[in-house]
Amino acid sequence: MTRFVERHPAWALIVIIVIAVALWLIFAVWPQGLEDAIGRKRVFLNALFNGITLGGLYFLVASGFTLIFGLMRNVNLAHGSLYLFGGYVGYAISASTGSWVLSFIVAFILTALVGVLLQVLVFRRMEGQDLRQTMVTIGLSIVFADLMLWACGGDFYQIQTPNWLIGPVELPLVTAVKSSGEPVYLRYPLVRLVIFAASVVIGVAMWLALNRTRIGMIIRAGVDDRDILAATGVRIQLVFVGVFALGAGLAGIAGVVGGTFQSLSPGEDIRFLLASLVVVIVGGMGSIPGAALGALIIGLAEQLGSVYIPTYAIVVTFLIMVLVLAIRPQGLLARR
C-alpha cells in the first residue's frame, strides 16, 4: 500500500478523493441542491447497495473462473453454463425440499462433480493446448445450454427466499430528514446483505486458504510458474482436479444466489460468462483480490449506470474494460 502511494502519488490522490467523496455521499444528509441535480439519496444508496451486492455475486462467479484460468491456463467459456446449472439444481432442491441452505450444498456438490468430470475426462487429455481447451469449452457451453433448455424449458425460475430472510432491514444510514426533523433510515432487503456477507466470507476464506495453507502455497506457486509444481513432487493432477472442482462449485453456488436475487433462464449463462470475463480482465487474470476488485467495480458501474444513465449502462461497463486494457493491459491487480 505505502509502496503504491510512493510510486503513483497522482493515482493515490485520485483514489483518496474518490473514496472521500463516496463516503460523504453515503453518510451525509444531502443538501437540497444535490437532490435536485441528481435525484433522491435513497435512490443513490439503493443503487450503491445493489451494485455492491451484485459485485458479491459477480465475485462468486469470477473467482472460480480466474482460479481455473490462473492455474491451468484454461479459459473456461463453459463457466456460465456451470452457473446456470447450479441455479437450476438449486431451484429443484429448494422447490422440492423447501430448504434454501440445502440447495446451496447440493448445487455446490453437483457442479463441482461436473467440474471434476470435465477435468478428468476432457481437459487432462489436452494439457498445455490452451486454444484447443478453449474450443472444447465453447462446444461444451453450447451442448450444456441446449441440454438445459431441453430439461428446463425457456421459462423463468426464481428460487424462493427463505422466510427468515424475507423483508427489508433498517440500516443506520440516513436517506433524508423529514420536515419534522426525524431522520429516515435506509431499508434494504436482508437476503442481499446476508448473501453479500457470505461472499465476503468465501472470498476471505479463499484468500486465507491460498496464502496460509500448504496446498494454497502450492496453487499460488503453480499460478506463477507451472514448472515449480512438477518440481515439488506434488500430485499435480490432484491439485488441478481440486481447483477445477472448487471453481465449478463456486459457480454453482453463485447460480443459487443469482436465482434468488434475480431469476434463471436461458441466456443467463452467457450474461454471467460475460460478467466473469470483464471482471477478470479488469481485475487481473488469475488474481483473487483482482476478481474481488473487478467484481465490485463492474457491479457498481452496472447498477449506478442503470439508474443514472439507463441507455448507456452497458457502455460504462465496457468503457471501464477498454480503459483498463489501454492503461494496464494485464489488469489492475495482476502481478505481471
Binding site: D146, L274, I281, A313
Partner: protein, 373 residues
C-alpha cells in the same frame, strides 16, 4: 536470376510439388476446383430460389465472415470472436445511413454512399477492437473479443436512438439500378458469389505476399519477428483492419439478404457460430470457412426434418452443432479438410509414410501452441 533458376531445377520433386502448391494458385491445376467453380457459376440453372438464397447465398455470406476469422486465426494466430460483430455493425450502418422502414432512424442516403460509409466505419470499429485485443497475447484475445461482441449485443438491445433497441431496423432498401433489382434471387446470388470469390482470392493472394508472410511469422514467433525489424503489434492491428473489411463486406450482403437487422443477428451465440464454422471447416486454408459454412447451413436448415425422421426432438439443432463441433475439435486439428486430407493420404500412401506427415503436423501444432503460450 540464373542462380534462382538453377536452384529451382535442383529442388527435389516432392519439394517442387509443395512449392507450386504454395507459391501459385493451387486451383489452377486442380480439376476439382474448376468443377466447383463451374457448378457455382451455373447454379441458378440447377437450383431453385430457395436453395439459391437460403442455402448457397447464405453459405457464402457466412463463409466470408468465417474467412475473416480464418485469416486472423490461421495466419495471425489471433482467434477473434468479434468478426460477426463487425459484420453486424456494418449491416446496422447500411440500415442507418441508407433507406429503411424506420424513417426516424435511417438517413436515407443512396446505397452507393451508405455502403462505403458502412464499410469504412465497420473497418474502423474492427481495427479499434483489434488494437485493444493486441495489447494482450494469445488466449486473452478470445476473452477480449468475446467481451466486445457481447457488449455490442447488449448495447444494440438498449440503444433506441441509433440501433432501435431489440426490434432492430426493418425493411432495409436494397439496390436497384440499370433496371435490375439486385436483390432478386439470381442477381443477388451472383453479387454474393462475386464478393465471396474476391475475398477468397484476396486472402489466398495476401497469404503469400510480404504482409501475409510476416503475419504468419508473427503467429509462429512474435519475439523473433521483432528481432527481424518488424513492428509486431502494428502488423497485428493491420491484420485486424483487413479482416474487418472482409467481415464488413459480408455484413452489407447480410443486411441485403434479410432486409433487416436486429440484436438477434449479433448475439453472442451467433458470434460463436462463426468460430464454429471456421473451425469445423478448417482454419489453415481459405476454403475451410466456406466448407464449414455449407455444413452449418445445411444442418441448420435440415436438422429439424432429419431429427424428426430419426424420431428425435427436432429442436435439438444446437445440440447437434455443439456435439459435431466437439467431435471435430477432438479428432482433427484442421477441421473437416484435415479429416479429408488424412483420409486421402491414408488411401494413397498407406500406413507406411503416414508417420512423416504426422511429424509435420505435430510440428505445426507445437508452433501454434507456442504462439499462444
Amino acid at each position: 536470376m540464373s542462380l534462382a533458376h538453377d536452384a529451382r531445377v535442383t529442388v527435389r520433386p516432392t519439394a517442387a510439388v509443395q512449392r507450386s502448391k504454395l507459391r501459385g494458385w493451387p486451383e489452377i491445376d486442380n480439376p476439382a476446383a474448376w468443377t466447383v467453380a463451374a457448378i457455382l457459376l451455373i447454379m441458378p440453372l440447377i437450383a431453385n430460389g430457395f436453395f439459391l438464397i437460403e442455402i448457397f447465398a447464405t453459405t457464402l455470406i457466412l463463409g466470408i465472415m468465417a474467412l475473416s476469422l480464418m485469416f486472423l486465426a490461421g495466419y495471425g494466430g489471433m482467434v477473434s470472436l468479434m468478426q460477426l460483430t463487425i459484420a453486424g455493425f456494418s449491416a446496422y450502418m447500411v440500415a442507418v445511413f441508407g433507406v429503411s422502414g424506420n424513417a426516424n432512424i435511417s438517413l436515407g442516403w443512396p446505397w452507393w454512399l451508405a455502403v462505403p460509409m458502412a464499410l469504412a466505419l465497420a473497418t474502423i470499429f474492427g481495427t479499434l477492437g483489434g488494437a485493444l485485443a493486441v495489447r494482450t497475447e494469445g488466449i486473452y484475445t478470445i476473452m477480449i473479443t468475446l467481451a466486445i461482441g457481447a457488449a455490442f449485443y447488449y448495447f444494440t438491445n438498449q440503444n433506441w436512438a441509433i440501433f432501435n433497441g431489440h426490434t432492430g431496423i426493418n425493411t432495409v432498401a436494397t439496390p436497384h439500378f440499370w433496371g435490375v433489382n439486385w436483390r432478386a434471387d439470381i442477381p443477388f446470388y451472383y453479387i454474393v458469389l462475386a464478393v465471396a470469390a474476391l475475398c477468397y482470392f484476396a486472402v489466398d493472394y495476401i497469404s503469400r505476399a510480404p504482409f501475409g508472410l510476416a503475419l504468419q511469422g508473427v503467429r509462429d514467433n512474435p519475439r523473433r519477428m521483432a528481432a527481424l525489424g518488424f513492428n509486431v503489434n502494428a502488423h497485428r492491428v493491420a491484420a485486424y483492419a483487413f479482416a474487418s473489411f472482409v467481415a464488413a463486406l459480408a455484413g452489407v450482403l447480410q443486411v441485403w439478404n434479410y432486409r433487416q437487422i436486429s440484436p438477434g443477428s449479433v448475439s453472442v451465440g451467433a458470434c460463436i457460430d462463426i468460430l464454429i464454422i471456421a473451425v469445423v471447416g478448417g482454419i489453415t486454408r481459405p476454403v475451410g470457412p466456406f466448407i464449414g459454412a455449407l455444413i452449418f447451413v445445411l444442418l441448420r436448415t435440415f436438422a429439424l426434418d432429419f431429427l424428426v425422421k430419426l424420431g428425435l426432438d427436432g429442436n435439438r439443432f444446437r445440440l447437434l452443432i455443439g456435439l459435431g463441433f466437439l467431435a471435430i475439435v477432438f479428432w482433427s486439428s484442421d477441421g473437416v479438410i484435415g479429416l479429408w486430407q488424412s483420409w486421402r493420404h491414408r488411401q494413397r500412401f498407406g500406413a507406411a509414410s503416414s508417420s512423416g506427415r504426422r511429424g509435420q503436423e505435430s510440428g505445426r501444432e507445437s508452433a501454434q501452441g507456442s504462439s499462444h503460450g
